[in-house]
Amino acid sequence: MSIRLRIIDVRRTFVARLWSRDTDRGLRQIWIAIHPRERDWAVVFCNALDLLMETAKLDRQRISFAEGAGQIAWQRTAFWTIIHLDMSAFSEKKRHLLAAALLKSARYSD
């Protein structure tokens, strides 16, 4: 079995960070996801938080974690989604790592 190279990842969802605010007390980010097919964001982010060993609580289009100190919410249309991430718990380093891991999940989860 050999290694395979591909120039374009057709399964990837385009997700870009529109806005970010980072203070001593918290991290807030807004992302936009462009998707030709509908994505189940609840499944994507609940799975990611489970892999990150965080207990997630789903409420419609919002998930809270870290006992309510972390929230990820989304507003979906047919072709794009605006995603809001808000964390006021953890160290600055951990907040950045969690945000990067959730962004990676939004981009690459099937």
Binding site: I3, D9, R12, L97, A101, Y108
Partner: protein
Amino acid sequence: MPKVTESAVVAAPAEKIFQMFVEPQRAVMFVPGLSRINNISPDKRSWDYEFNWLGLVISGHSECTASEAPKKYQFKTLTGNKSTWTYRCEPDGANTKLSLEVEYEVPQQQLARFASETVLQKMNQNTAREIVSHIKTLLEP
């Protein structure tokens, strides 16, 4: 084969750290550039991986070769340039000493095009350092 090692003391029990390794998909959360883990076997001892490196997708297959909870977890990448990854957890009071050793084949054909062996070693050392640092960050409060 050349190898790089990296270690850190993590304020978490070895059992909790070991949980990061036994679920192959979890690696996506702390390995830089790793984008997907697919086709995981029912016993979780083999899987396919995909790295996204500057837009280039590199995919291959891995197999777990040792899983001795909570002390040692080892897997091998079996495609492309073969490598062996070994995580070790040693209790250190209330903490755990986590170490990662990566042994890798030097890709002779690619070396001429992309990097010298020293540069490759530095890249692998940096990756190992990031992985250990990410695990520590995720598991500590």
